[in-house]
């Protein structure tokens, strides 16, 4: 079922670009040209290297984001004072597009991997943070009170009750976070990278090789879909 619409799009795309020639190939390459570009990128090995290097960057940025956002989110969700102190600053920082940080990324982390990780981190960190805070705050009071009446300390209650109770929300945050991190790859790879799917997109576009750009776009889409599938499965498993 899910394939019906993509197939229709493919047919219309093919008709418009190949058979009728209504749309010139420099505006939208034909499906066949994309397929050729795909074959080409596979045989010369660029696609694999680019995919792997993008995955590494996304994974590193996402990991740092998770390591920062989960503990911070637990703290903010649990201690009202931390919530009061951080609400305003999070509210201001969150809407700033990661791409706007590029100059500072270069100044702080130089040209290269550090900057790329920083940009992806900025994309991932807020969804994870917000969902963790939310999960901690929503923890059913009866679980917390049960823990206290069984002699648990505050720290034990946090570790053994609040964190597991918030886990479904944390997973949701991770899912959204890695998706947005992936969306930041083009921006991240504009700074000093010489490989990656984002890099492939803007270099091939600048050489009017739009077919290769579409290949890279589709690969990013497929990776995103795979992450989404994995996290959604985990979400279903631990849904309480």
């Amino acid at each position: 079922m899910a394939l019906i619409i993509p197939i229709i799009i493919l047919i219309i795309w093919g008709i418009l670009t190949t058979y009728t020639g209504l749309i010139p190939s420099y505006l939208i390459p034909s499906p066949y040209a994309v397929l050729q570009a795909f074959e080409n990128l596979i045989t010369n090995g660029t696609l694999l290297t680019d995919t792997v290097s993008t995955l590494i960057r996304v994974f590193l940025g996402f990991m740092v984001a998770a390591l920062v956002a989960i503990p911070l989110g637990i703290l903010i969700g649990w201690f009202k004072i931390a919530d009061d102190l951080s609400g305003f600053i999070i509210g201001i920082l969150r809407p700033i597009p990661p791409i706007a940080w590029i100059p500072f990324a270069i100044l702080w982390f130089g040209v290269g991997l550090g900057s790329a990780i920083f940009i992806i981190f900025l994309g991932s960190v807020f969804p994870i943070l917000i969902n963790t805070i939310d999960g901690v705050k929503r923890t059913d009071k009866v679980y917390i009170e049960s823990a206290y009446t069984m002699g648990a300390s505050q720290l034990q209650t946090l570790r053994k009750v609040v964190v597991p109770a918030a886990l479904p929300n944390i997973i949701t945050g991770l899912k959204v976070g890695i998706g947005i991190g992936l969306m930041c790859t083009v921006a991240a790879e504009m700074i000093g990278s010489d490989n990656g799917l984002g890099y492939l997109i803007f270099t091939s576009t600048s050489m009017l090789d739009t077919a290769s750009a579409i290949v890279a776009m589709l690969v990013i889409g497929v990776i995103g879909l795979a992450f989404d599938y994995l996290f959604t499965r985990t979400e279903r498993k631990i849904n309480w």
């Binding site: 679980y143 049960s146 009446t149 069984m150 002699g151 309480w240």
Partner: protein, 246 residues
Amino acid sequence: MSFQLKNVSKTFKNQDKELKVVKDINLTVDDGEFLCLLGPSGSGKTTILRMMAGLDFPTNGEITENGGPVSGPSPGRGFVFQQYSLFPWRNVLDNVAFGLEVKGMETQERYENARNYIKMVGLTEFENSYPHELSGGMKQRVAIARALANDPQALLMDEPFAALDVQTRHNLQEELVKIWQEELQTIIFVTHNVDEAVYLADRVVVLSRLPGEIINTFRVEIERVRDRASTEFVDLKKEITDVLGY
């Protein structure tokens, strides 16, 4: 464990509104006593129980246990909630062993302990089940075992059987009396059900509608196991129902 409540009142403040839910409660609960707090819904009876547990604090007056002030929750005062309160990410065994785990008991020893209490409530075959796999009655059985596993001196129960069907409720009441007779803890049991109170309690304390005040106290002298069809049971039920004004 004995409890003493002296002139206990509780007022909840919500923005600009004040709501007095408990008013001038004076009550002594003896060690080993089975006491029911009976009242219509919204009579502050849950609030009284929560204050005895150390989950809420009186606005006025004081509550003592064995002569010392109640300053917060303690595993010595086990609590069974009206809502299902088992941790959904833990199986029955790990739920029951929770209190022992936070006390730092070794895995082997705490599982052994927990299994005794799981057996006491008749759920040995379900020790590896998760809460969502259990019926309502089974969940409350586990909740009782979980409180008992900490070897409390008192058990505070907040309408634990209210959501159960009559048959399950009667079974659990019977089992609770047995457990109480074997373990001899003090039990304070909140309910709005006259039948339940008369079946369970040594003494029934009847509360008024908000703000909850004690309007009467009944001693239940009927021998256990109590027969619901006996004249004395039926008569006492009627007498208490009249006082409640249902």
